[in-house]
Each structure stands twice: as structure tokens, then as C-alpha cells.
Subunit: 417 residues, 2 copies
């Protein structure tokens, strides 16, 4: 990158990130839930910022905001970059926002440096990815790829009893004269994002090049035993679901370690009932979150897990209810794209590694309709979904540099996967 222009791009990106964190519901960190007032103000700000940079701005019916540079080749499919504008409650300033800010800065740099691209170049601020307000996720990118339809909006109700349709209207979306969100003209998607994990930082790497987004299985396990007095019930007369859960969780960890990376298995939530020091619990409920980039390996692990749980429960005389409430398939990124990203990192003197994304991202929706790729930058201590979320300016600029390079190859050189 030409130094002057690179400095301008970095400053533009940092400025947008700084500005965006001001659109928050208050409290620690950033809280910007779908269709909230601060959400609408943030999309309005981005629209104006993109327009001021000479991008053609468009907002679709569900509130996805696009900034576009027309291509010189007629009817060419678009090269799209971007990420989501919404946050979790008390989230950070980088999750989602970074991919948007980097995308705007990249388009600005490319336009100023090289003029109009051959293929149309777009940056998107997806309306929703986190699932923090309504009981669904990827509402923005899901509408783009046709996994959701805006007509579902009246059915989704938030924690305060507000329907998504009412929330949309209040935010100025959901109007008939707004463009339908589904698109058939996207040729390729590249998303820059913070890693939200510890791997890059611990390995001292600049860039993570994503090969796949993991599939997930999430279970709720309910074990039913017999609540009894902790003092008057001999060990041999107990049906203790807490002891059963402990045996299961220990077995689960062993199985996950044996399966090896990138499989991860986590028990994050657990509730004992009645949860009293001197009472043997009558019931224990815990969650299991399993992720893997290989769908078959994930299925095999899920089967082994279910068998282990049922075997232990049966031996202990515990009732068991095992429910699978999330079951998503792994989403592969495009090999030609991630190979190109590896090469670009190497050309730019940036250290990188191919890695699996353990978290979900909009790219997993987009890869259903077009070749997709993701660029990760390090997260300090791996912290995300927290006010403490942080990535250094250098880390963010490294990601921007790589994003600019891949978008140039895709939109100007038409090196397509």
C-alpha cells in the first residue's frame, strides 16, 4: 500500500470503530441490539459515512446497509465484504464492527488508488448476527441467502414481548418500498473479524486464515435422581444426579481430548435442584456444546456422547433426558480463497496460519450461495462478547491490509475462485 493512502485508510477504519461504539444502549461495553434506537442510529451513521466517501448506499427491507462501487464489466457478480452491526449485551467494540469498518476503509482505499473495479465492490453492514434480542441468529445474512424471509418477522418476539415486525417498523425498516433482502448477484464474500479466541495471540501470529466454520451441536442433559438428606442416606442407597453428571463431564472431557483439535466440547451451564449443601440433589441439568469443522466427526462424537450419557445414567439408576437443540453443519470456506489469503499474508510479510473458526459468523450463511473467506486478527487474551474485547491498532491494520489485497485480486484482477 502506498504509505499516505494506507495511513488514511487506517485512520478511517479506526475512526469508524471509535464512532460506532458511541451507539450503545448504555451500561458497560457496547449494547446495540437489533432494531433498537442505537442500532438505527448506527446504521444511519454508516449510511452517511459511506455516502460521504462516494459509495452508493442502499438499505434493504430488513435493515442491511450496503455501500457500493460500480464495476466496469456489466452484470458482473459483486465482490462483497463486511460483517454485522449488532452486538451482544455489554459486548465489545470489535465483534462485527471491525469487519464493517475495515470493509469501508478497504473500498475507500481501492477506489482512490485504482479507480473503479471491474466487478462491483460492496461493503455490507448486516443488521443482525448475534441472536441477542430475538430467538434467532444471522437474520441479516440469512435473509440475503434466503435462509430467512422477512415475512417471518411477526412471529419472532423479543424478551420484552415486542414482535420483530413492530421493532422493524420503529427502526424504519420492513417497508414495502424497501428492496427485498435476498440477492442472487453476489459472486464472492470476504469477512474480516476478530478471532475471539486465544490461538493467534498465544502463537504470536498476525493473521488467521479460516478454512471452515465449525458445525455445532448443543445439548441439554437433564438427570433425574432422588433428592435425599445428605446425612441420613447411605452412599449405597443414593441415586445422585450430581455424581452422575460429574462422571459424564469427566468422560466428555477425556473423549474430547482423545478426538483432538479442532473438536471442542464444553459444559458451560449447570443447575442443581434444590441446590442446597445438605441435600442430595434430585435433579441436575447441564448443557454440552460440541463443535467440529468435520461434520462426520461431529456426528460420530455426538453418537458416542449420547451413548456415554445413557450408559452412565442407566448404571446409576438415573432418569435422563438428552435434547439436541442446536445442530448446525460445518461451513467450509473456499480453498482457492484461503490459499490466496495465505499467499497474500506471506507476500506482505505477515505471519499466519490456517485455522478453523470455533465461533459462528455471517460467512457461514454466505458460503451457501457463493465462495466465501474469512480473515481473523488476534484478540487480546481471546476475550470477546465483553467490554474487555480488544485488538491492537496494528492487528486491525494487518487485517485491513490483507482485506484490501484480496479484494483487489477479486474485484480488479478478477482472479476468481
Amino acid at each position: 500500500m502506498t504509505t499516505m493512502r494506507a495511513e488514511r485508510s487506517a485512520a478511517l477504519m479506526h475512526g469508524i470503530l471509535e464512532e460506532l461504539q458511541r451507539y450503545s444502549a448504555g451500561g458497560p461495553g457496547v449494547t446495540r441490539l437489533l432494531y433498537a434506537d442505537e442500532w438505527a442510529a448506527a446504521q444511519q451513521y454508516l449510511s452517511e459515512r459511506m455516502a460521504a466517501l462516494g459509495l452508493a448506499v442502499r438499505c434493504d427491507r430488513v435493515g442491511n446497509v450496503y455501500g457500493r462501487i460500480e464495476g466496469t464489466r456489466e452484470a458482473a457478480p459483486a465482490v462483497l465484504t463486511g460483517s454485522h452491526i449488532d452486538t451482544v449485551r455489554s459486548g465489545g467494540a470489535y465483534d462485527g464492527a471491525y469487519g464493517i469498518a475495515a470493509g469501508v476503509a478497504a473500498l475507500d482505499y481501492l477506489q482512490r488508488t485504482y479507480g473503479p473495479p471491474v466487478r462491483p465492490l460492496e461493503v455490507v453492514s448486516f443488521c443482525e448476527e448475534e441472536g441477542s434480542r430475538f430467538p434467532l441468529s444471522y437474520w441479516g445474512s440469512g435473509n440475503v441467502v434466503g435462509a430467512y424471509d422477512v415475512s417471518e418477522a411477526p412471529r419472532h418476539i423479543d424478551f420484552a414481548g415486542v414482535s420483530m415486525e413492530d421493532a422493524m417498523r420503529r427502526a424504519g425498516c420492513g417497508l414495502d418500498d424497501q428492496a427485498p433482502p435476498a440477492r442472487g448477484d453476489i459472486g464472492v464474500f470476504v469477512e474480516a473479524h476478530i478471532e475471539q479466541g486465544v490461538t493467534l495471540e498465544r502463537m504470536n501470529l498476525d493473521i488467521g486464515v479460516v478454512t471452515a466454520i465449525v458445525g455445532q451441536k448443543r445439548y441439554i442433559v437433564k438427570l433425574i435422581g432422588e433428592a435425599n438428606h445428605a446425612g441420613t442416606t447411605p452412599m449405597g442407597m443414593r441415586r445422585d444426579p450430581c455424581a452422575g453428571a460429574a462422571e459424564m463431564i469427566a468422560a466428555l472431557e477425556r473423549m474430547a481430548l482423545e478426538a483432538g483439535d479442532p473438536l471442542v466440547a464444553t459444559v458451560g451451564r449447570m443447575e442443581l435442584s434444590p441446590n442446597t449443601p445438605n441435600v442430595i440433589p434430585g435433579a441436575v441439568t447441564f448443557t454440552i456444546d460440541v463443535r467440529h469443522a468435520d461434520g462426520e466427526a461431529l456426528d460420530r462424537f455426538g453418537e458416542a456422547l449420547a451413548e456415554t450419557i445413557h450408559t452412565i445414567a442407566e448404571r446409576r439408576g438415573l432418569g435422563v433426558e438428552l435434547s439436541l437443540w442446536v445442530d448446525t453443519r460445518p461451513a467450509p470456506m473456499h480453498p482457492k480463497l484461503y490459499s490466496a489469503l495465505e499467499r497474500i499474508c506471506s507476500e506482505q510479510g505477515l505471519s499466519s496460519r490456517l485455522m478453523v473458526s470455533g465461533a459462528g459468523h455471517d460467512a457461514q450463511m454466505l458460503q451457501q450461495v457463493c465462495p466465501s473467506a474469512m480473515i481473523f486478527v488476534p484478540s487480546r487474551l481471546g476475550v470477546s462478547h465483553s467490554p474487555d474485547e480488544y485488538s491492537t491498532p496494528e492487528a486491525l491494520e494487518n487485517g485491513l491490509q490483507v482485506l484490501i489485497a484480496i479484494l483487489y485480486e477479486l474485484a480488479y484482477e478478477e482472479r476468481l475462485p
Copy 2:
């Protein structure tokens, strides 16, 4: 027992039990907390009931109510029976109340059948045992044996901010002209109580003869790991306190089974933080409740437990805080008394077994100052501290029959331990 008199005694006992459960704060089961209005009304009812039966009634400064039959031998130490009038919140109708009702019925039977005893015979309704209102237990029997002093009352504050002193006054206790609770004139104590466990019912036995009340150690274990994203943190980069807790709880159960009866170890309460399905917990807190009738064996188990916890925590890189917040010694019942009870059961054609009490009782306070004994009757399904607490009329009458027989030997025949 003479049949007519026995029928009258059984009816008296059942009548008192039925009447007592009407003194409750409302809600499911019986709630009769120390010094509450319903508590004061219950003690008043008992005072009147005992007086009507010809017992000399006395209420001491902390609210223990006694009914007494004078003995014929001057200055002889008293034979005392009874239990506590207070309950847990939403407790049952038998825990505590049974020992009082059986005691009143036993004294009535003995007086009517045999006239005045040689040694004074008393039944007591201890004011408090459960620790449900103020952060202490055995306030009634503890004041009798000198483990507590009524002068501490201003220091104890309930969940609503009321001091025990104010609560006492409101209940008509704590007055200077009331008798001090400490007594040096008790020669022997016998307490009838529901088992609150499953052993007698499962073994189809009529009576449990208690050899000792267990000592207890209660711990709070806090494990500090590193909260991280469940998807983006490889298994090998985790310090997961939930997996650590599972390993500890599984080890604890193995150790307890190896130690054998009557040792019991229970994890009844557990809290994960932040307790979210897709976040590796940053901290886990759980309780351990260990009980044994042998103080040295209890100490050895406590040491092994602490070593196991520290070893596992260290290997996993977890911070650990292990705090011992309850540490009571086992309380032996008197061998001559429990042998006599075994003999009595056999003479009366009742099946029985010697057993350890896994729960605490007033007898553990009284045994500090005089030979003490306990008679257990079966609890349906072992349930106690619950509105579902239940013992059959026959079971309660069996206990009454044994209580009458032992009191006769102690107070009329002066067969003393």
C-alpha cells in the same frame, strides 16, 4: 402397655401432632420459625395442654417449655425427654414435633399408670434446633447445656434484619424474671425422632436405636479458571474449572464408597460463573458435606479430600479456595442406654437395629452434660424437611411404646446408665 391406657396415649400423641401443625406461617407444609407468632402460639398451646394433663409447666428465658412430674426421691436428677418445636420453612409435621408429642403422651401414660416416679420426669419443647431463622442451630438445647448464652441474643440477626433479642421480646421471652435456661440437674436425656432417612423403611424395621450422631465437616470449594469462548478455545488451551470440579466430585464419590458406611459425602450445591452454555466457566463453586460417626475417620477423610482437591487443581492450573465452615465432632449416645433400648425393642416384639444418625439432633447437645439416647421411627421414603414428611401412626406408636418403657426404667426403676 395396658390396652385402654395405650389407646389413650396414642390418641393424645396423634392429637398433639395434629394440633401443632396448625401453628404455621402459611404456605405448603409447616413453617414455624423461632420466636415467630405461630411459634409463640404453639408453645402456648403446649403449655396449656401439659398443664391440663397435670404437668407442672415452666418456660425458661429463651422459650424452652418444660412439663414436669415431681419425683419421690428428693434432689434426684431429672429424666428428660422431648425435642424441638421449630421447623424449617415448608417443613413437615413430624420433625421435632413427634419427640414432644410422644414425650407428653409418655409422661401422661406413666403418671396415670404408675403414679409419681422416683426421679423427676420432664418433657421439653426446645425452642430451636433447625437454624432456619437465625444463623445458628440448637439455640434451645445449646442454652440448656451452656453452649450458648442468652446474652448473645442481640448479636444474632435474621434474614429480615430483626435481632434475636427483639424477636425474643416480641414472643414474650428474654425477660429477667424468667428462669435462666442452663440446667445442672438433668440426669439423662432420651429423644424420640423420625429417622429422616431411608434405612429403616428399606430394611423394613420398626425402630432405629442410635449409637452416635455423626460429626460433620462442610466445605466450600471455589475453583478459579479462565472464562473463554466455548468455540474458539482449543481443549489444550483451557483452564476449565467445571471439568476440574467434575474430576473432584467423581474422586470424592469413589473415596466415600471406599471408606464405607457410615461415612457419607455429598455435593449438594454448585454454581458456575458465568453459567452460559457457550462460555467455558471462569469459576465454579461447590459445597462438600462429609459426615461420619468416628471423629478420627472423619478427620482422615477431610485430609484426603483436601489433598485430592489441591492435587487436581494444581495439575489443571486452577486456583482453589477450600474453606471448612462447619466442623462438628461426632456425639456418642450412651452404650448402656442404647443397649437397654435394643433389649426393650426385642422384649416388645419390635424389629430394630443400631444405627448412626446422619442428621444433627438436640441429643448431641444434651450428651455433653448427661447420658443420652435416641429412638428413631421410619420416615416414608426417607423424606423430611418437606411437606411430604410422613410416618405411619403405627410407626409413631411403636416409638412411643419404646419411649414409655425406657422412661419407666429410668425414672421409676432408677436403672441408670
